[in-house]
Symmetry: C2
Subunit: 357 residues, 2 copies
C-alpha cells in the first residue's frame, strides 16, 4: 500500500439531524464481505446563488472506513452508488472501476460517493459546482473523515473535484480529473442551454417527460461521437410517411430510461450547474492528474491543456483516444483503470502529495 | 472564356401552366444592367415517396441566357435568389460568390437558382434529394436549357448536385460539391432527427414557432464550431434565478429570424430529405470537385474522402480549414472563390468535362 492511511476514519458521529442506515454486507461470498453503508444527513450550507439553507446529503461508503479514503464522483446523472455490494446489490454507476477486483477495490480503499446536491429536485435555484465541493466537505465532516487520499471525478465530478481541491486543499491528497476542467466551454454550454429549452418547451404543454427525454437525447449526442454512430447505425428509411433515422430506436431508449429516474428540476439545475463552473487553476497546488479525450465533444482537449498549464502543483496529463468521446470514463475500462492504478500506486507521486498538500 | 457556351439558351417557352415574371434590370448603374428574371411553373413529377403529383417550381435567372449556364444551390434554407440585382435588390443567400465582380459574375455566366421542392410547405410527404434533381431538370426544361456548364452545390445543394450528376449526366458539364456528399452521416442524421422532434414537441402545444426556433438553434450548433463559440461568447451567468449562457442571445436571434421566414412543414420535409440522401458515386463519370471542411461537424472529411475514392470521372478534392465548420461556404469567401475560379477557368479540366460527359 503506497498511500498513507487516511488521517481520520472514525465511525460516523450521527448528529441529531442525521439519519443513518448502517449495514455490514452479508457474507454470502467471502470475497463480497466488504463494509457498505448508506446514510443521509441534513446540513446547513451557504449556497452561492440559492442562499443559506438546509440541504439533505445522501452518501454511500464501500470498504472499511479504516482504509485510505477515496471520493468518487461522476456526471450529473451519477449518484452515491458507484458499485454493487452484497448490501446494495443493484448495479452502480461505475462498476468498471469500483468493486472487488477493480482498481477501486473496497478491500483496499474506502470508496465514498454521494448524491449531487439538487439531485432530489429539492433545490430549484442555481447550484454552483463550488456548492457541491462544500457539500462533499460536509459529508466528510459527517463521516468524521478529515482527509481523503484521492478525489476521482469524471465529467461534472471532475469539475467539482477541482473546486474541492481549490477550496478544501487540506482535506485532499490528490485529484484525478477525467473529462472535466476548470470551465464550461461556451459551445458545450450552448448545447446544454438548448437541452434545457427542450425541457421548458415540454413543460409548456404540461408534460415534462417529452421535453426531458428530448434533452437527454440531445445530451447523448454530445457524449458520444460520429465515429461510434457511423459504426452502430444504418441509413434513414421512410416509415409511415416519416423519415426515421438509424439512431432513433437507441435515442428513444435513452430518453425513456432517463425520464424514469430523473426529476426535471434536478436535471435543469444540475445541467445549469455545469455551466457555472469557474475555478482558478492557479489556486490548486496539490497533485492533479488530468485525463482528456481527443474525441470529447464537450470538453475540448485544448481546455485540458490550458488547465494543465495553469495548475500549480505536480501535474500529470493523460490523453486518450476513444470512440466514445466524453463517455470514455464509462467505456474505456482498461485505459482508465491503468491511469487510476498508476496514480493510486505511484508512491513517488503519493509522496509529492504530502509535500504539496 | 474557357467554358463552351451553353448548348441551348432559348428564351423560355412558357407553357400554358407556367406563370412567368419577366424583367430586365433597370440600368440605374450601368454595371448593374444585367438580365434578371423570376418565374414559376407547375410540372408533374414522379416523386419517390410522395407519388406522382403536380408541383410548383420557382426559379430565378441572373445573367443573359446566352451566357454559359451555371446552376447554384445552397442549404435547405437557401432559395432561388442567390444575389441582389437591380431587378431583385434584396440580399441573396450567396452574395459572397454571386453578382457583379464576384466569381459567379452575371456578366459572364447565366446563374440559375430555384426554390427547393417543398420549400413552400405544399408537400407534406418525404422528399428525396433525387426528386430535387428531377425538379432541377424540369426547371431547365422550362427554360429551354439543355445543359448547364456547372452545378455548384453547397450542403444539401451538393447532395442534390450529386443526384443530378448521376441522373441527368448528359445535361451537366461538371459539378462542384461543397460540404455535401453521397450520404447523410448517421450522427448528423440523429442530430437532425432530434431537431424535428423539437418541432413535434412544439406542435403538441399548438405553437410551432417555439419548436421550430429550438430546431433552428440546434441546427446552428451543428453548422458552427466550438472554436468559433469560444472566441465569440463569454461564460454563463445567473439572471433572474436561471443560468443564461453566453451564446443564448445569439441563438435567440437565430431562432426568431428563422421562424419568420420558414414553414414548419417545409423545414421538417427538407430536413428529412437530407437524411434520405443516397447516391452511388460509381454512377458519376463527369468531373467533380469535392470541397470538404476539416471542422465540419455534419459532413466528416472522411466521408468526402470516401466520395472522392468512389467517383468515376476526373475528381478534384479541396480540403479547407475553417472556424465556421459546415458554414464555411457562407463565410470563407476568398478560399471558396479561389476554388470556384480555378474550377470555372481551368480549360484543361473543362476540356475533360466534355470527354467525360
Amino acid at each position: 500500500m503506497s498511500l498513507a492511511p487516511a488521517a481520520l476514519h472514525e465511525h460516523p458521529t450521527a448528529s441529531d439531524r442525521a439519519v443513518v442506515d448502517f449495514h455490514v454486507a452479508a457474507p454470502l461470498d467471502p470475497a463480497q464481505a466488504v463494509f457498505a453503508r448508506r446514510g443521509e444527513c441534513t446540513v446547513e450550507l451557504d449556497l452561492r446563488h440559492a442562499g443559506r439553507r438546509d440541504v439533505v446529503l445522501r452518501y454511500e461508503i464501500l470498504g472499511d472506513p479504516a482504509l485510505p479514503a477515496v471520493f468518487v464522483a461522476g456526471g450529473i446523472s451519477a449518484h452515491r452508488h458507484a458499485a454493487a455490494s452484497a448490501t446494495f446489490p443493484q448495479e452502480g454507476w461505475w462498476p468498471q472501476q469500483t468493486g472487488i477486483g477493480r482498481v477501486l477495490d473496497p478491500r483496499h480503499y474506502c470508496v465514498i460517493g454521494f448524491d449531487w446536491l439538487g439531485a432530489d429536485g429539492a433545490i430549484d435555484a442555481p447550484i454552483d459546482p463550488a456548492d457541491q465541493a462544500d457539500a462533499v466537505a460536509a459529508v466528510l465532516d459527517q463521516l468524521g473523515i478529515a482527509r481523503v487520499e484521492a478525489f476521482i471525478g469524471c465529467s461534472y465530478g471532475a469539475m467539482v473535484g477541482l473546486q474541492f481541491a481549490a477550496r478544501h486543499a487540506a482535506r485532499l491528497g490528490q485529484l484525478v480529473a477525467i473529462s472535466g476542467v476548470h470551465r464550461a466551454h461556451p459551445y458545450a454550454s450552448a448545447w446544454r442551454a438548448l437541452q434545457r429549452r427542450a425541457v421548458a418547451l415540454g413543460a409548456l404543454q404540461c408534460d415534462e417527460t417529452h421535453g426531458l427525454a428530448l434533452a437527454r437525447q440531445l445530451a447523448i449526442l454530445s457524449y458520444r461521437t460520429p465515429e461510434e454512430f457511423a459504426e452502430r447505425f444504418d441509413a434513414a428509411h421512410v416509415s409511415d410517411g416519416r423519415v426515421r433515422v438509424g439512431a432513433e430506436d437507441y435515442l428513444d431508449h435513452c430518453g425513456a430510461k432517463y425520464v424514469e429516474r430523473t426529476s426535471p428540476t434536478a436535471y435543469l439545475r444540475l445541467s445549469e450547474s455545469i455551466d457555472l463552473q469557474q475555478v482558478d487553476p492557479g489556486l490548486i497546488r496539490l497533485p492533479v492528474t488530468v485525463v482528456a479525450i481527443v474525441e470529447d465533444r464537450l470538453v475540448p482537449v485544448s481546455d485540458a491543456y490550458d488547465l494543465v498549464e495553469r495548475l500549480r502543483g505536480e501535474t500529470r496529463l493523460r490523453v486518450l483516444r476513444s470512440l466514445y468521446g466524453h463517455d470514455a470514463f464509462l467505456k474505456e475500462e482498461s485505459a482508465v483503470a491503468a491511469i487510476l492504478r498508476e496514480v493510486l500506486d505511484d508512491a513517488a507521486f503519493a509522496g509529492c502529495t504530502e509535500v504539496a498538500a
